[in-house]
């Protein structure tokens, strides 16, 4: 009986062999197939639309210029509806039926985490998902990431605040899920190093509508620095409540609130808030000429302002193209990964930090910078800080 079990295991092992390793699919004489899983019908649909705009913009640029080493790039988009079950089917379709070379810029941390094993098994390179988690680049397998996890953001925020003023009454208001937990773990680890503690901690449930008791507690505790692990609506809700009761500490949020939509939604109350981020929000009349030109080109093409997701979509496609170009005409999965692991993409017009990948480090950069909302525009107040 036991013998038979072992035999079965061996047989299974051999059967699984062809599943491992590199697929070397999706590259023909004239084409490179890139897949992406986006949320076209669920809660993140607006973000996915922007991301795809950015990706397509860069893709059309390279295709118009003759492609990557003579090969045009074709982007295959699958809809997940931000549902992990649908995302799994999409991942299987992309890797096994469409036979893509790489998947790039998939939307959402959970979606990227659930589907990565499918791509790994199929030997498809997994590039730059739009999600933040250590699992998206560790262990360093066939996956590469750019988005800084909240843990590192928390450390970076504390480091930057300590640099300006060490003596503070630290407090926090965070969403009681992965966002808040990861962020506070980072904050606590940096605070411990500095010999400080968070005096008052408050949380809220995702999609909460009322923050009066949390803000009253923060005010009662006499906080002068409040770290916000909040997303768009909850940030504005908190700031509105704080203004109402006359509570004005230094509010510092994360990339979850760093968006051009924040001042649009909240108006004057958002003025002065700080947030950590990696890419810089482009504006028509701010930043370098290259950034302004990019903004104008995006506006002309899509008739709407580019947000953070447009910037990220563009960058994801840009890095993918650069790595493929560097690999050369003989584009195989193995060679592509080797290229990625010895690549460094310098700071670009969109304001990302230098992205350096090695054999053991598959996240481009863990550094963040801090910006402040001034006159309704995000203005950087620090350079990149390595947490």
């Amino acid at each position: 009986m036991r013998n038979q079990g072992v035999r079965w295991l061996v047989a299974l092992g051999f059967a699984a062999l062809p599943l491992c390793g590199f697929a070397d699919q999706g590259v023909t004489k004239n084409e490179i197939l890139i897949g992406t899983i986006q949320d076209l019908s669920g809660p993140l649909a607006a973000y996915s639309k922007e991301t795809l705009n950015g990706m397509n913009m860069r893709l059309e640029e390279v295709n118009a210029a003759g492609g990557v080493n003579g090969r045009k790039i074709r982007l295959l988009v699958e809809d997940s509806g931000y549902d992990t079950k649908k995302a799994m089917l999409a991942a299987q379709k992309l890797s096994q039926s469409d036979k893509i070379f790489a998947v790039a810029g998939s939307m959402g941390t959970t979606i990227a985490l659930t589907t990565q094993q499918v791509f790994q098994d199929a030997g498809v390179v997994n590039l730059f998902p739009l999600g933040s988690a250590r699992g998206l680049y560790e262990p360093p397998e066939m996956k590469f990431a750019f988005s800084v996890p909240y843990f590192q953001q928390g450390r970076g925020i504390v480091k930057s605040l300590l640099a300006t003023k060490a003596d503070r009454k630290w407090c926090s208001l965070v969403q009681d899920d992965d966002l808040g937990t990861e962020l506070m773990a980072g904050v606590d680890s940096a605070m411990k190093q500095a010999g400080k503690t968070v005096s008052e901690r408050t949380t809220y449930k995702r999609a909460a509508t009322d923050f009066s008791s949390q803000v009253a507690r923060l005010k009662g505790a006499g906080c002068d620095t409040v770290i916000l692990g909040t997303t768009l609506r909850e940030t504005v809700g908190t700031l509105n409540e704080a203004k109402k009761i006359g509570f004005a500490p230094q509010f510092v949020a994360t990339s979850a609130a760093y968006t051009h939509l924040l001042p649009k939604l909240g108006g004057a109350v958002t003025e002065g808030i700080y947030a950590s981020h990696s890419a810089t929000q482009p504006y028509a009349d701010e930043g370098s000429k290259a950034a302004r030109d990019w903004y104008a080109a995006y506006m002309a093409k899509f008739k709407e302002e580019p947000g953070q997701f447009a910037v990220m979509g563009y960058a994801v496609m840009d890095w993918t193209i650069k790595a493929a170009e560097k690999t050369g005409p003989n584009l195989t999965t193995k060679r592509f990964i080797e290229t990625m692991e010895s690549s460094s993409f310098p700071r670009d017009k969109l304001g990302f930090d230098t992205m350096t990948f090695t054999k053991t480090k598959h996240i481009g950069s863990e550094a963040i910078r801090v910006s402040q909302l001034k006159n309704g525009k995000w203005t950087p107040v620090t350079d990149f800080i390595t947490p």
Binding site: T203, K205, S213, G246
Partner: protein, 291 residues
Amino acid sequence: MDFLQQVFSGIALGCIYALIALGFVLIYKATETVNFAQGELMMLGAFAGLALVKFAGLPFWIAVLVALVGITAFGALVERLVIRPVLGQPQFTVVMLTIGLGYVVRGLITMVPVIGSETSAFDPPYKGMVWKVGGLILSYEQGTVIAVTIVLCCAFYMLFKHTKVGIGMQAASQNQLAAHYMGIPVKRLNGLVWGLSAGAAGLAGLLLAPFTFVHVNMGYIGLKAFPAAVIGGFGSLPGAVVGGLAIGVVESLSGYYLPEGFKDVAAYVLVLAMLMVKPNGLFGTATRKKV
């Protein structure tokens, strides 16, 4: 002073729960089913107001009025097209239908260009203004919520006590068949009840919009209104209001005085306690169906 401030905030929040709970109870009383799309009707009301201001360029107050009339008509239409055809089927059918309706409404809204998948601000003209009474601070938004809830409750009271339609509704809710034999147009009244209930939900949505903005998932707050209705006793209108206020105040106070995290479970703890102590709710009457 902190205590009073928290109570005030709690009452304002509780009024929103109460308005949605009123919708639950209205429909439950009249048709003995629970409308699980109540939160979505609320969201729809807010979106209607937003669209009228944004696309039709109507002034705020007119947009609010038109949105309310529209959502009331929509409620009556839903009753006619979706609910009435399955009349006489088990209650479970209607419950499933309303859950499906919620999904459909959310899906359809997401498809609306520009505003459908975004979070939008829908600011009333009195946005950001506050009253300061002693050390208490009450925003105009909160004041409006409380005032409107009081007015609506009075209006419902008058309707059910002193008008023919209201008394007809009461009769129908006690025994549909008997009411029908007495010449009360039960079907038409059911349509009206759905309309009123949708109107109350839409009003809640419009009042909630300045706090939480208009977005497709705003209807999930209905999950808190449900315990409100249970606490009040599911078949009682005053109960819904008291239940809503109780949950609002308990949430607010527990968020301030109890350890972190209690705010989010307070509403459900209250319901559990209520079900143990007084299973029929505060104002519920113990009724037994005769078979």
